[in-house]
């Protein structure tokens, strides 16, 4: 069995205890709720997009260390990037989570995930993948709504 140290890496615990970009954004930012039906976690993601750039993201709600740290690191990874780049980051993250999706592009592999690489260990604990991807799926929904 993989050890817990693969899961609860220092960076993850740091983002869990000190989450970045927590909170809400006023309208006209888009807000979308995300649920993990397995464990009952609920988050709300706020997205401010203008001129095809993700200007700000905030996340509120509750969740386990994996879902909360993933959300925190995600906000850092996407703020300031173009929507196209953000979609590529999402694809790259999902492929790290062993989630097969259409549309993975050859250049995605070159994208650096930075701190998010610490979540790699989650793959060894398949039930936790849903925790790690909760905020990401919510972000996809928000981007889709933003058009």
């Amino acid at each position: 069995m993989p050890g817990l140290e693969d899961l609860y890496r220092e960076i993850i615990l740091d983002h869990y205890k000190n989450p970045r970009n927590r909170g809400e954004l006023p309208e006209p930012a888009i807000s979308v709720e995300g649920h993990n039906p397995l464990c009952g976690d609920e988050i709300t993601l706020y997205l401010d997009v203008a001129d095809d750039v993700v200007r700000d993201v905030k996340v509120s709600g509750q969740g386990c260390s994996i879902s909360q740290s993933s959300a925190s690191m995600m906000t850092q990874a996407v703020i300031g990037r173009s929507v196209t780049e953000v979609r590529a980051v999402i694809r790259r993250f999902k492929s790290m989570m062993a989630i097969e999706e259409d549309g993975l592009e050859a250049t995605d592999a070159e994208i650096s995930l930075g701190d998010l690489e610490a979540l790699q260990g989650v793959v060894k604990f398949p039930v936790r993948i849903k925790c790690a991807t909760l905020s990401w799926n919510t972000l996809i929904q928000a981007l889709d709504e933003a058009g």
Binding site: M1, L38, C39, G63, I66, R128
Partner: protein
């Protein structure tokens, strides 16, 4: 009469009857504390099912050859065992379903659609499992009924002060005998009497209570009682709807098909007698045999003994958690083990239940983390999720000790 149980069972031997509990993962024993979810199976249940498949398997109720007749006897024998186990007046009052969920849906749909009109009220409680909420909510959409909920007291008991007002004008009372989150054991006879007095149809969700204590459906006096085989040492895939003969005669069939008919013509059908009327299609034959063996096993230990064993362990668990962690641990529900079963939903030092159960799994402690299919109750408790440790006859103090010890490991990781 029931086979006599021993005065004081050998719990160590009982534990060794369960092959999964003899297994080790990473060289350490499994600490199974998730029986409110589903229970482990004793050797005798596994053997009964395997030898039936090896030597006795055949269709039931359909064929004239001896092998089929013997299989029918085995299936009906299981029905008789279950009937005796819950003190049903006759075996025909026991309907085999897939699980408690199907039994509850069967009554909501078949009884509800026949008897309920727009505006009629159905009374449930705030501690119900989704299986006793959603089927009724479906009738809100389909018929336009109204739902009312019995509130809870601060220590997780049903607050029955306003019960007669809630029941006033209601048509149905459907309540759990024991909470799968709080462990609370509800006063079924009192609830049934109140429902009767208000002319309600009364159903009891006995999914959590039947595996852990004596059940006497005649003393309860409800119209319907639902429970699952897999929580009472039997296999998954079989459950029970008990109904009074009177109600089952009046109840329209739920599923149509083979086995449930008396005659079929191009312009219609007539139903087989109860209980076949409610067992459309080829039933869970092997699982019924397994459930019969589970009942035999439970009776050989004695339900009163099991209840006493679990009360003692529940007391020990509450006391151990409190002694070690004081206010850092919250145990939902009442402290009085006379009023609760061995289901402990806990919150620990702000550590998320998912993380707690992950760390506990490191020492092979199996607990459930989540909302336990009771989201309205979870909202009332102000928690999205809890860790739930639940006890059964095969657990002992060492399992509780492993739980208490394991929590400390979580504290270390999260630095709390």
């Amino acid at each position: 009469m029931t086979p006599s149980a021993v005065a004081s069972p050998d719990w160590q031997r009982i534990r060794s009857d369960f092959p999964v509990l003899r297994r080790e993962i990473d060289g350490r024993p499994i600490v199974y504390l998730d029986s409110a979810n589903t229970s482990q199976k004793p050797e005798s249940v596994i053997d009964a099912m395997a030898s039936f498949m090896r030597e006795g398997y055949a269709p039931i109720n359909r064929s004239a050859y001896r092998l089929a007749a013997a299989a029918t006897d085995a299936y009906e024998g299981a029905r008789s065992k279950v009937a005796r186990f819950i003190n049903a007046a006759r075996p025909e009052e026991v309907v085999f379903t897939r699980n408690a969920t199907e039994a509850l849906n069967m009554v909501a749909q078949s009884w509800g659609r026949k008897n309920l009109r727009p505006g009629d009220a159905v009374v449930l409680s705030h501690m119900e499992h989704h299986a006793n909420i959603v089927p009724w909510q479906m009738l809100v959409d389909q018929i336009g009924i109204e739902l009312r909920f019995i509130p809870l007291t601060d220590d997780g008991l049903l607050d029955l002060d306003g019960l007669s007002a809630l029941l006033d004008g209601a048509r149905v009372l459907s309540v759990t005998a024991m909470s799968n989150v709080l462990g609370t054991i509800n006063p079924v006879e009192r609830l049934v009497a109140a429902g009767r007095a208000a002319d309600c149809m009364v159903m009891i969700d006995a999914c959590q209570s039947v595996p852990h204590g004596i059940t006497d459906v005649q003393a309860w006096g409800a119209d319907f009682v639902a429970f699952s085989g897999h929580k009472m040492l039997g296999p998954s895939g079989i459950g029970v709807l008990w109904g009074s003969s009177e109600q089952l005669e009046l109840l329209p069939p739920f599923l149509g098909g083979g086995n449930m008919i008396d005659d079929v013509r191009l312009d219609g059908f007539t139903c087989a007698p109860v209980p076949a009327k409610f067992e459309a299609g080829t039933p869970a034959i092997v699982e019924a045999v397994g459930l019969g063996a589970a009942v035999d096993y439970l009776e050989s230990v004695g339900m009163a003994n099991i209840r006493r064993h679990e009360m003692g362990l529940t007391r020990y668990a509450i006391d151990s958690l409190r002694a070690r962690y004081g206010d850092d641990v919250v145990i939902h529900g009442t402290d009085n083990v006379e009023l609760r079963g061995g289901v402990l939903s806990i919150a620990f030092r702000d550590i998320h239940p998912h993380d707690l159960s992950q760390v506990l799994d490191e020492s092979n402690v199996c607990v459930r983390a989540g909302h336990h299919c009771a989201k309205p109750l979870m909202r009332l408790l102000g928690a999205n999720a809890t860790v739930r440790a639940s006890l059964y006859l095969y657990n002992d103090r060492s399992d509780v000790d492993a739980l208490v010890e394991g929590l400390d490991g979580a504290s270390d990781i999260f630095g709390l």
